[in-house]
Amino acid sequence: MDLLAKAIDTAPLLSIITLTPLLAALIILFISPKRVRTIQTIALLATGISLAMAIRVYASLSSANAGAFQWQELAEWLPDLGISYHLGVDGISGPMVLLCGIISFTAALLSLQIDFRQKEYFALALTVMSGVFGVFTSLDLFLFILFYELASVPMFFLVGIWGSDKMGQGRPIYHQQAAMKLLIYLQLGGALVMLGIIGLYALADINSFSYIALLKANISSEQQYWLFALIFLGFAIEAGLVPFHTWLPEGHSSAPTALSMMLAGVLLKMGGYGIIRIAVGLCPEGAKAWLPLIGFMAVINILYGALCALKQTDIKLMIAYSSVSHMGVVFLGTACLAEPNVGTSAILGASGAVFQMFSHGVITALLFALAGTVYLITHSRDFSGWGGLASVMPWLGTAYVVAAMGSLGLPGMSGFVAELMVFLGTWQRSPILAACAILALVITATYLLRSVHYGFYGPLNPKFAEVRDAHLSEKIPFIILALSSLAAGICPRLITDITSPAIQELISRM
């Protein structure tokens, strides 16, 4: 046992976390498509390893060391171009890696529901997982772009092949078209980020894509102003900033369950993380100029997303719009960095933003997991037609109530802490913005409770009198996700302890 612990501590854990899913995807390519069991086992094993190692890495972070990058791995790759294979985590990426581990593993469990073309499915899904892990662990910007694209390209196929259409009320959404839209938007975001990063590289003139080296680079305020705008815009498209969000509801609602979880749980966070880490981290002067405007847009995001969600009767679309609204909270928290010296505003707001990314990740993944499972059983995504499902599927009903409570920010769940931190931070800077944002909480509560009411309580739709409840392989992910949210809600210091020093470090450089 000791030997194993020692071996783990000396191993390149971040590489293992990041590359295990990709390795599994490669192995799966060489397995006959008929051996579904083997493929599923490999996928679960790979994501399980990643999760375990992510927990190990997370546990090693503490308030003392999270301000700097830990577990660094550095190897020469393309020295002529100033590109290296450089990984590391700090207090900002730590929670993201953990989130990624949790979502990947639970998503892999729910992927057992996929009943055709499993080989291709798992190969692609595992590639996405490697991509998102890589985005959060890489400290080289070229590597970052590489992983970023690795995470977004397979989404096209995953949504296009295994997705579902939205029929029901309102405009139909076809998953093949949603896949194309998602791809174009994500790649447009990626292209803007790539331009910004090449610009950073060229203007810094140190022939290096290393994040740590670029932190010390000397770039004038005016150049930072434009670079920030480019990079921010790129990531904002990915994170669903209104008015660049239209791919998000369509893509998220059309994706297969496990991929909705990945998209909402982790891929959106790549945008939020990129803004804090790269846009703000490398262009602080630009950030100061732009962030006040972004705070304003964030409030629009929160309100607009919530109002749109209020209108939906398609459960996945409603959750997707709630994501738009909740990502607004991330933007709002980040915007607190505009005035790094006003009281505790910046530190509260930005830590709150990271907290919200984690919290929204697990809760929305849970919501999508439940919605997808109910869809699988009832073949209907229109919750107004479900009616009283809790009486036939008590497990799913209870879990949905828990998830809805977490999403609307019930104290004791993680969403509450995150929103509290962000609103407190914003209040110190601009009470009006905070007041408008808090207004959205009422709308959020309305649409979530409405979905609980129509979907799970009230008279049962006789069509669904004989349906099954959740299987064990579905219950486990629900429990993991709900417990993660509860743990972070009851003991917020699990996250804030390591996030705050890293945010402090970020603020000290501004």
């Binding site: 772009i145 296009g160 093949q176 791809l183």
Partner: protein, 507 residues
């Protein structure tokens, strides 16, 4: 002889290609032609020619001197040998990928197999000369077989039309080129590259005639590689010509001519004097051509339903990206070496990805009898390997990581930025363009992966691809997938190769 004449080994690749071409022709004359035998002999000949470049390359890098024959009419330097090898390889791959197609009744295998080595010979000669008239000869040696290839499906109206169209347009462009050469000769009194600049300073002739001549020369070159606005022939020819011919026409000439453009325009035609900086003229020209070409190509490709037409527009756009590298290879940018290697890397990777994608087009046209995109329904189910080839090659063309196309684009954009940070808008335009291109590249993959095969297609079962096609495709896939990420190879392309190339381009 004691005089420092270069050993004949320098001519070996050219000789080998010429012998292969003649042998291919003779083999077709047998009373019972055997296409398979003829094909394998030609492939082997071309591969041998490609291999024979290796000792030449090593001798050049050891001595630092190119092999020169007949006072520079033929000068085999690093760049020449590299592009000779590339031309031979693409010829060989095109032949391998067409093996199955050539078995059909309506194909005339002998003609196709004979024409390819002649084109390769023209290409090899074109990149090994430093004299305008010889270049013109080589250019024609390459062009005429290409016209014949376009008209190769001789009872197919579309193919005849394609050949005719290509020939008329090509003949006009050759005439324009020849007129350009005569203007250059008239103003400088020489056709040797090395002499042009020297004579230009000595003779006080009207300068604008020289510029006009160079522009005409450029126009004909750009016509051959289908850069907008010289591209109108390309979609019709690619669509009308039988798929194997389209595959070769869209690939082989492009790399060589891009290399030749860099050599000609950044050394001998980039004349500078007090009031006169031609280099700036060329930079502006290439920059506007690059932007026009990628935008036009990408936007026009969006609406295509025939995959061959689509690939024509995709090729126009891809050449547009390459022109970005050509543009930055000017001496004045300070990153000339980088620009050259970026352009060369990109066009090489384009060749492999394009050949791989076309090989699937060839097979589908051969077995499903159509090159409409709707004919690709359910290819992933009926033939996973071919679908995978199409996937990888199109994703590489679209610039998805970690494939070669992505690294190539990254490398290009970075060079443009480094050359002049004020050119960020060029990079932005190129990036927006590559996002636009996703729509049609992924649009092809939609029927391939998302849909079920139509009944009559499912009935025909798995598409047959010979083992040699599979081997060739695997080579292409490895090139596309691993070159981008393998440091040693990238470095070879980036630094060592660039040194060789830049010494050939820049005097």
């Amino acid at each position: 002889m004691s005089a420092p004449t270069s050993p004949t080994i320098g001519l070996l690749p050219l000789i080998l290609v010429a012998v292969t071409a003649l042998a291919a022709m003779l083999l077709d004359l047998r009373s019972k032609p055997n296409p398979r035998l003829q094909n394998s002999c030609t492939v082997i000949g071309l591969l041998l020619a490609a291999l024979s470049v290796i000792p030449i390359q090593s001798q050049i890098s050891a001595s630092g001197q190119p092999f020169t024959y007949w006072s520079g009419i033929i000068a085999v330097d690093g760049m020449a040998s590299m592009f000779t090898a590339l031309a031979c390889l693409s010829g060989a791959l095109a032949l391998i990928f067409s093996i199955d197609y050539l078995q059909t009744k309506r194909a005339y295998p002998g003609e196709y197999i004979t024409l390819i080595p002649f084109v390769v010979l023209g290409l090899s000669l074109a990149c090994s000369t430093k004299e305008l008239l010889t270049f013109f000869l080589a250019f024609e040696l390459m062009s005429l077989p290409l016209y014949a290839m376009a008209a190769w499906g001789r009872f197919d109206l579309k193919s005849s039309e394609a050949g005719f169209k290509y020939f008329i347009n090509g003949a006009v462009s050759s005439a324009i080129m020849f007129y350009g050469i005569s203007l250059i000769f008239g103003t400088t009194g020489s056709t040797f590259f090395d002499q042009l600049a020297i004579n230009f300073d000595l003779v006080s002739t009207p300068r604008h005639a020289f510029v006009l001549g160079s522009l005409m020369f450029a126009g004909a070159l750009l016509f051959k590689i289908a850069v907008a606005p010289f591209h109108f022939w390309a979609p019709d020819v690619y669509e009308g010509a039988p798929a194997p011919a389209g595959m070769f026409i869209s690939t082989a000439p492009k790399a060589t001519i891009i290399a030749f453009i860099m050599r000609a325009f950044w050394s001998s035609l980039a004349i500078q004097s007090m009031e006169f900086r031609l280099e700036d003229v060329w930079t502006v020209t290439f920059c506007s051509l690059a932007l026009l070409s990628m935008t036009w190509g990408n936007i026009a490709a969006l609406r295509q339903s025939n995959i061959k037409r689509l690939m024509a527009f995709s090729g126009i756009a891809q050449i547009g990206y390459t022109m970005l590298g050509v543009m930055t290879a000017a001496r004045s940018t300070g990153v000339a070496t980088m620009g050259i290697s970026a352009a060369v890397f990109y066009i090489t990777m384009y060749s492999f990805a394009n050949l791989a994608a076309w090989s699937v087009i060839v097979l589908v046209e051969y077995q499903r009898g159509s090159s409409e995109i709707s004919a690709y329904k359910g290819l992933a189910k009926s033939n996973p390997f071919l679908a995978f080839v199409l996937l990888v090659s199109l994703l590489s063309l679209a610039g998805a990581p970690p494939l070669a196309g992505f690294v190539g684009k990254f490398y290009l954009f970075r060079t443009v930025f480094l050359a002049h940070s004020g050119w960020w808008w060029v990079v932005l335009a190129a990036l927006v363009n590559s996002v636009i291109s996703l729509y049609y590249y992924y649009g092809i993959l939609r029927p391939v992966y998302f849909e079920e095969p139509a009944d009559n297609q499912a009935a025909s079962g798995e598409l047959q691809a010979s083992w040699s096609v599979r081997v060739g495709l695997t080579v292409c896939l490895i090139m596309i997938a691993f070159v981008g990420l393998c440091p040693t190879l990238v470095q070879m392309g980036a630094s060592a190769g660039a040194q060789v190339l830049s010494s050939a381009v820049l005097p």
